[in-house]
Every structure is written in C-alpha cells, then in structure tokens.
C-alpha cells in the first residue's frame, strides 16, 4: 500500500462522513422546527420534568380549523401526565368565552406536591382519553372530572350524596332544578393543588383556614360567612384562632344538612351530641341547654340591629 492511495481512501471516507453528518443535521433541524411551537410553550413552565414520566411519541401539530374549534391530528399518551402537559403546562393557555378568559393552565409544581401527585390526568378526567378536540361539543368536563372522585372515594361520595349539597330529584322524578348551583367535590376541595391532609398538620391547618374560600365565597354562603361573628367562635376564627371552629366543625363535612333537618348536628335537638357542640375538644360537658347560645353564632349582627341602645344611637345620629 502506497502512502498516496491511503490518503485518497481517507479523503473519500471523510467526505462521506461529512455528507452524512450534514444530512442527519438537516433532518433533525426540520423535525425540530415542526414541534418547536408547542414545545416552546410547554417549556415556559420550567420545572415540569419533575413529574413527567412519558414523553410524546408522536410530534403534535395544531392546525386551526375553519369551524371555530381546532383539530389535533395526534394521539398523546395519557397514561402519564406528560402528554397533557404539552399544552396544559403553558401558563398562557387560555380559552376566551365572550369577554371572559379562562385559564387551562395546570401548575405542575403545585400538582406534584398535591394529594393527587401520583394520579394521572385521566384518572380524574375520565372522558378525556385519546379524545381531541376536548372541551367542544357540549362536554360537561367539570362534572365528569369532579364526579370521577367517587371511583377512588366511594364512601365520601356516598356521604355527600346524602347531604344538602347533592342534587335531589323533584317529586315527579325530574332532575333537581338547582343542580347546577350545588357543589361537587372539587368546588370545595379544589383541583390540581389539592392539599395533602393525611399525616400533614400543615396541610390540615391550610385547609382549615380556607372556610371563606370553600363555604363562604360569593355564590355559596357568603351571607353566613359574614354573619359568623359571635365572640368566641366566628370572630375568633376570623383572626386565626386555632381553637375556634370552622364551618365544617359544626355543620359536618360531606353530609352537610340544613339545620332544620333533624339529623343535622346543628339542629337544636342535637347540639349536645358528640358530633356537635360536644365534639371532643369543644364543649365536652355540653347538654341540650347549649341551644341557648346557638342563636348568637350566626345572629350577633341581627341581635345588635334590634338592640334598643343601637336603635337609639341610630336615631340620634340619623343613620336610619
């Protein structure tokens, strides 16, 4: 073998290698350009890798359709969360409805610390598997997602269904006309950032402090939140007293009943019971006589308004 022939063979091999590298690089660049718009949005939510277990196997291509919706001609793996998070990991993911914009962003960091950190998206959003587009065509995705809680929490769902928060068919077996205003699990418990309660005092305290957000918000029981203002319960709770009762301490958790219901722990006849004022840590020596205090718990403002001193003051000051 002469040195000249060796150099030619090396030269040919080198040229082939360079051509191969260029072809591979160009191919990769073209493929990368196709998924870039989606992946860029996803990467805005930075710490997504913590929970991502499966990556999309097929590149997604969003094509606006002419019918006002959109078509997604792809199938994402829904066994994990990664497929959904391609879109829902984007904080800018919103849907406009009229003048309102609704965020469909899922904070994956909060989700990864929630009680459902190990639950995949379709574990709750049961009707979402491999369907696209979703949220179109009259799907009540909220109801489906929330009602799916019973798959894992049947006892709690049963308790809820026995309470005043569950829809009740009318006498002629028609659906409850107030069903839309009645809360489902997620309305109280929240969604993707649901706090871990088991063996977690910090989480329990966090939930305990959310009575207004859970029960007393506008559209629910804002009036009862406002008048929960007696000296030793409501007023104390609102200043963060750990020993003051929150809404569900008295009214119960899942089987919430109206106070007029004879099975309600806040029914006057039951106030001395161990699940009412007699709850351990509250008034262990309670008896039916405690009913005398009950009107003050949500009624201090009403009692004050009727007070003759207040009425005289109002008259003198010309306030009414």
């Amino acid at each position: 073998m002469s040195p000249v022939r060796i150099e030619r063979r090396v030269l040919v091999a080198g040229i082939l290698l360079v051509v191969t590298i260029v072809v591979v690089a160009l191919t990769t660049a073209v493929a990368g350009a196709e998924v870039k718009p989606v992946l860029t949005a996803s990467t805005v939510s930075t710490a997504t890798a913590a929970v991502t277990t499966i990556t999309p196997s097929i590149a997604a291509t969003a094509v606006p359709s002419g019918s006002g919706g959109y078509a997604m001609d792809f199938t994402l793996p829904t066994f994990g969360k990664s497929g959904c998070m391609v879109c829902h990991g984007d904080p800018n993911l919103v849907v406009s409805q009229g003048d309102a914009t609704h965020s469909f962003w899922v904070d994956e960091v909060a989700y990864s610390h929630s009680a459902h950190a190990t639950v995949v998206c379709t574990g709750c959003h049961t009707d979402y598997g491999y369907k696209a587009p979703h949220g179109q065509g009259g799907q009540d995705w909220r109801a489906v997602a929330k009602q799916s809680c019973k798959n894992c929490h049947p006892n709690e769902f049963r308790d809820w269904s026995l309470g005043a928060h569950a829809p009740v068919p009318t006498a002629d077996k028609k659906p409850d006309p107030k069903a839309a205003s009645k809360p489902l699990c997620g309305d109280c418990h929240g969604g993707h950032n649901m706090v871990v309660l088991k063996n977690n005092p910090a989480g329990q305290a966090e939930v305990r402090a959310q009575a207004q957000q859970m029960c007393g918000r506008q559209g629910c029981h804002a009036d009862y939140w406002a008048n929960y203002n007696d000296y030793y319960h409501g007023a104390a709770y609102k200043t963060g007293a750990a020993d003051a009762p929150t809404c569900w301490t008295c009214h119960g958790t899942h089987t919430v009943l109206k106070s007029s219901d004879r099975f309600s722990p806040t029914n006057a006849a039951n106030l001395g019971a161990a699940n009412s004022c007699g709850t351990p840590g509250c008034h262990t020596d309670s008896a039916p006589g405690l009913a005398a205090y009950a009107p003050l718990i949500h009624g201090r403002a009403t009692i004050s308004a009727k007070n003759p001193v207040v009425r005289l003051l109002d008259f003198v000051l010309g306030r009414k």
């Binding site: 007696d230 000296y231 030793y232 007023a235 104390a236 609102k238 200043t239 963060g240 007293a241 750990a242 020993d243 003051a244 001395g272 004022c277 008034h283 262990t284 020596d285 309670s286 008896a287 039916p288 006589g289 405690l290 009913a291 005398a292 205090y293 009107p295 003050l296 009624g299 201090r300 009692i303 004050s304 007070n307 001193v309 207040v310 003051l313």
Partner: protein
C-alpha cells in the same frame, strides 16, 4: 331553665357598658369644667392648695403592691377584652396564657395585700373600715363631689366613698377570681379528675341553665360584666386621683415629694371630724 336569651343579654351588655363608659367620660368633662366656676381648679392647680394628709409618705410596700395590681389588672383587662372581641391576628392561645399568668399574680398580690392589711406589723385594715362617723359623712362627701357643697367632711385617711370603692375593689376581685376559675372547663385538676367548672358550677348553676357548658357561658358573661365594672370604677379612681390630689398620686408612684412640713400639700378646706357616737 332561664328563658332569657343569652345572645340578647350579651349584646345588650356590650352596648350598655360602652354607652355607660361614654357617659362616665362625659361626666368627667362636665365635672372638670364645673371645678372652674366653683373655684376648685384655681385653688388646686394655680394656687397649689391640695388636700392635707394625716400621715407622711405612705410606706413602700403598699405602694409597690398597688403598682403591681395596676399593671396586672391592665394586662387582665386588655387580654380579657381581646379574647372576647378578637382583634389580634393569630388566635387567643397566647392571650389566654398571659391572662392566666396575670391572674395568678393578681390573686397572689391580693392575698399579699390582705396579709399586709390584717397580719403585718403595719396592718392598716382600719383605714378601710367604714365607721358610723363615715356613714354620717356620706351625704356631705357626695355633696362635695357633686358641687352641692364646696367642703368635704374629713373623717379619716380615706373618705367614706373612697373606702366604699376600695372595699368594692376587694369584693369584685374575689368574685372575679372565682368566676375566672369557673371558666376553666377543660383542665382537670390532678388526682381529683374534675374541672374547676364542674366543681364551682356543676352543682348549682348547671342544673339551672342546662349543663356545665352553658353555665360556663353565663359565668363568662358575669366575668365580662365585672370587667366592665372594674374598668369604670378604675377610670373614676384615676380621674379623682388626678383631679383631687395629683401630688399624692404622683408621690404614690415615686414622682414628686410630699410636703410633710405643711402637713400635706397646702391647706385645702376641711371641716372638723364629727363627734363619734
């Protein structure tokens, strides 16, 4: 069982006591204003003629006990009202513990003062005892404070209304301490296994109002009412201490000096003590 509405009573007490306190402050303003045309303001604040006193500087121990009472009663009043009307974020647990500590100190101080009054070398219980001569002077003293008379009968170190007020303090403190202990419905006394609420209320009030918890609620209302009485009476005490004899008040707290040579602080108009018996 009581048929009175617990809520109505409590709300009524809130407004009645607050209104009463405003009235008391208004009376003070009127009283102070009236001292100008009656000549008392000029005599005391301009001419410096303050009341004379039968004895020189008061001993140090009752002064200290008074100061300790003052501080602890203020702490008890503040924490107590902050527990009933929560305005401090973070809950009531710390307030309660401060209240308990102040309670123990006040009870100990009260017992200390009783020992001083009845069992110490300088026992002074007679200074607080209301005699027949005091009783006879009541109308004259009341007339002086209400400007119907410009001279105050002098019978003893304290006049009859002062004595009555200080005895009322002692009585209220004893009742308030018992009421406060009766509110402890959770802590069971070791070896006895009962709470103070059960011991103090379980045998008489609880059957009347439908259980120990409700008895505690009513007792809390009484505790609250006595707190207001304390607030009002202490305010009156402070106003009269300042306007009637500010030099001796300052001396009682270690400020200023007592003019022993002058038998006090000048020559206020006094009448001779009435003959006893």
């Amino acid at each position: 069982m009581f048929s009175i509405s617990y809520g109505d009573v409590n709300v009524m007490l809130d407004y009645v006591f607050m209104a009463l306190y405003v009235v008391v402050l208004a009376v003070f303003a009127f009283h102070f204003f009236m001292s100008i045309p009656m000549g008392r303001f000029r005599k005391k604040w301009i001419e410096g003629k303050w009341p004379e006193h039968d004895e020189p500087h008061p001993p140090a121990l009752p002064k200290y006990i008074h100061f300790q009472h003052l501080v602890m009663m203020f702490v008890l009043g503040f924490t107590g009202l902050a527990i009933r009307f929560p305005f401090i974020q973070g809950g009531r647990t710390t307030l309660r513990y401060v209240h308990y500590v102040a309670m123990v100190i006040v009870i100990a101080t009260f017992i200390w003062r009783l020992w001083y009054a009845f069992a110490s070398k300088r026992r002074d219980w007679r200074a607080f005892a209301i005699t027949k001569r005091d009783a006879k002077s009541l109308i004259g003293v009341a007339a002086y404070y209400s400007f119907f008379s410009n001279s105050k009968p002098h019978t003893d170190k304290y006049n009859v209304m002062q004595k009555g007020t200080y005895l009322l303090f002692a009585l209220l403190m004893a009742v308030q301490a018992l009421c406060g202990l009766a509110l402890l419905e959770f802590w069971k006394i070791p070896y006895i296994g009962l709470t103070f609420s059960q011991i103090l209320l379980g045998w008489w009030l609880a059957p009347m109002v439908g259980g120990v918890a409700m008895a505690v609620a009513w007792m809390r209302t009484l505790h609250y009412s006595i707190t207001w009485i304390f607030i009002i009476v202490v305010t009156v005490h402070m106003y009269l201490s300042a306007t009637e004899d500010i030099p001796v008040t300052l001396d009682f707290f270690g400020f200023g000096s007592h003019d022993d040579a002058e038998g006090g602080h000048g020559h206020a108009t006094v009448v001779a003590p009435a003959e006893e018996g």
